[in-house]
């Protein structure tokens, strides 16, 4: 309830800021709002684009939020997602060539799309987990703060991607991989022809199912139940017999696994290949989603939709006001929501964790 009120205050602040920006650019706020509405929720195309943009944000928010339950701030979702996306696309295109080449060792298996999906997902998950595990292990073994190490890991991921693409994964003279061969159907291919032209695809359902699964894991498994305890400090854990180091690493592993699903929608549902910078920024926006969503599954989805609307709206408004205005609005939303939830906590008194969860 408190989170909801805080989010509403945040939205009001964003609305005020939006008006100020509109006036600063000499546009009528009402007119801009009409354009914003038409570009997002006013047309089916707009709705589809918002869905397409919300899909990675839901997953990114979930990844950040899961680690946050253990008190870990995973700023490395960006790098984990990018590397997994490249890995998944490279595996897919490699399997595609195996399927087309009769004499290839894996020819028989690669002919079947479901078998290829298994390999693709396994690659993505492995890379995402591995890349997230490093900061986790550095933290529990050497006490390296995860905010700093995940940021550094992002930079290393950037360089590794450049290396991998330049050394053979990319088509000659480009920064994109070969075609992936398997696709996540778009909505219009499923018979929802109103979405024609928009990139909305079934990755949305992958994201929503993941949200559901994670919600169950958080409530019904030992690991999930013990994470908030880990966050509340080592003394509480020792008292309750929680293996704190193992739980911290597990939290990072799950977070990385979720992060590895982020690029699926863009790579397999929209582009059909991975390209340097595809879907960049989702990991960072995911931090905002996690904060706005306040750890609640529905909250995460709602926050992702709001931020996706801002992103898509920025594109719709571009030309009248710069697209970057939406970055500033996002900043306003984050800070005001953080302020409002803190202020509400102080005035209303804090709710016992069991009730809040």
């Amino acid at each position: 309830m408190r989170a909801l009120t805080a989010s509403l205050v945040g939205l009001c602040a964003a609305w005020l800021a939006f008006n100020l920006v509109a006036l600063a650019y000499g546009e009528s706020p009402a007119h801009l709002l009409v354009i914003l509405y038409r570009g997002t929720w006013g047309t089916w195309y707009g709705v589809g684009q918002v869905i397409y943009k919300a899909t990675p944000l839901i997953l990114a928010g979930l990844a950040v939020s899961f680690a946050m339950r253990a008190g870990l701030f995973n700023v490395g979702v960006e790098g984990q997602a990018a590397l997994s996306g490249l890995g998944a696309a490279a595996t897919a295109s490699w399997l595609l060539s195996a399927a087309q080449n009769g004499s290839h060792k894996l020819h028989f298996i690669a002919q079947f799309a479901p078998a290829r999906w298994v390999f693709i997902l396994a690659t993505a998950l492995t890379i995402g987990c591995a890349w997230a595990a490093i900061p986790g292990l550095l933290k529990v073994r050497y006490g390296a703060h995860e905010v700093v190490s995940t940021i550094v890991m992002n930079r290393i991921a950037d360089a590794l991607m450049g290396f991998a693409l330049a050394s053979g994964l990319a088509l000659r003279g480009t920064v994109r991989t070969a075609d992936v061969g398997v696709h996540l159907p778009r909505f219009d291919a499923l018979g929802l022809s109103v979405f024609r032209g928009s990139a909305a695809n079934v990755a949305l359902f992958i994201a929503l199912v993941t949200v559901g699964v994670v919600a169950v894991v958080q409530r019904r498994t030992v690991v999930g139940r013990e994470l908030p305890l880990v966050a509340s400090g080592p003394r509480a854990c020792v008292a309750a017999g929680v293996p704190i180091k193992r739980r911290l690493v597990q939290a990072m592993l799950v977070s990385g696994a979720i992060a590895s699903l982020i690029p699926l929608g863009a790579v397999f549902g929209f582009k059909g290949y991975y390209e340097l910078g595809l879907g960049a920024g989702a990991g960072f926006t995911g931090i905002a989603v996690a904060i706005l969503g306040a750890g609640h599954p529905l909250g995460l989805v709602a926050a992702a939709v709001v931020l996706a609307t801002l992103e898509q709206g920025g594109l719709a408004l571009n030309g009248r006001v710069p697209m970057e205005v939406m970055d500033v609005l996002k900043a306003v939303v984050i800070i005001v929501v953080a302020w409002a939830s803190g202020a509400l906590k102080r005035t209303l008194g804090s709710v016992p964790p069991a009730v809040a969860a």
Partner: protein, 292 residues
Amino acid sequence: MSVSITLTHVIAMAAPYGCAALGGVWSERSGVVNIALEGMLLVSAFASIAGQAATGSAWLGLAAGIGAAGAMGLMHAWLVERAGVADLLSGLGLNLFAMGMTRIGLSALYGSSSNSPSVAGFGLAIEPTVVLGIVAVVVTQWVLRKTVFGLHVRACGEAPNAARSCGVNVTRTRILAVTMGGAIVGIGGAALAFDLRQFQSGMTAGRGFVALALVVVSGWRPGRVAILALVFALLDWLQIAAQEKLGVFGFIVQTLPYVATLVGLAAVRPGRRSFAPKGLGQREDQTDPKLC
């Protein structure tokens, strides 16, 4: 290329890292986590170029850069200390804000989405920004170690409750320290911008985040920050030099500075003398740092 030119170049490259990390030391020594270093660097780089472009004076540009980053510091400190926003969130928001505002500024002032027009810079044999940066290291060391204000800053960082019980105004001390830190980050931003003689969108390219790591690796000490910034800049310079020769493997060399940072992070064990301020991220009225 002669050795002295290389050395000057490396020092110029070290200035943004060093100044940003020094600002981080000010902020974190007072107990406020500051991940907004990146945003501060970006804003000050923009302000210093815009300042010179508008007034024609590089000195005024430098002042604008320092002022802009100082204002960001003030905003961060105010949000954290007075409005009760978690410091990581405030920093995150300010980074986004800086990214958006500098782009808006570029398009509003120069009608471009990528870069500003070139400015003359200082045109002196020795970059005043670098000199100022070195002065800032010495002054920071002296203020933190030898002055009453520095003692207050460190007390607020180690034990805010204890500091308050001794009559130190924790909120005010932290706001001053973070603002001061912001101003020093501003020197770095100006150094970065004047080195290229123009502002480019997103030109800080993660330097503020590297600075964050340097703060930790240095053990929150100004002298070591300066040395580490030089080491990092040297690795960075080697990386750029090597990239031209190594082709594809240049990308691997590119990771060198970052891998070194990770190793440094892991090597700084808690204990001995290199520990984090104990009250980092702590409010006056709470005992545990909390994320949200």
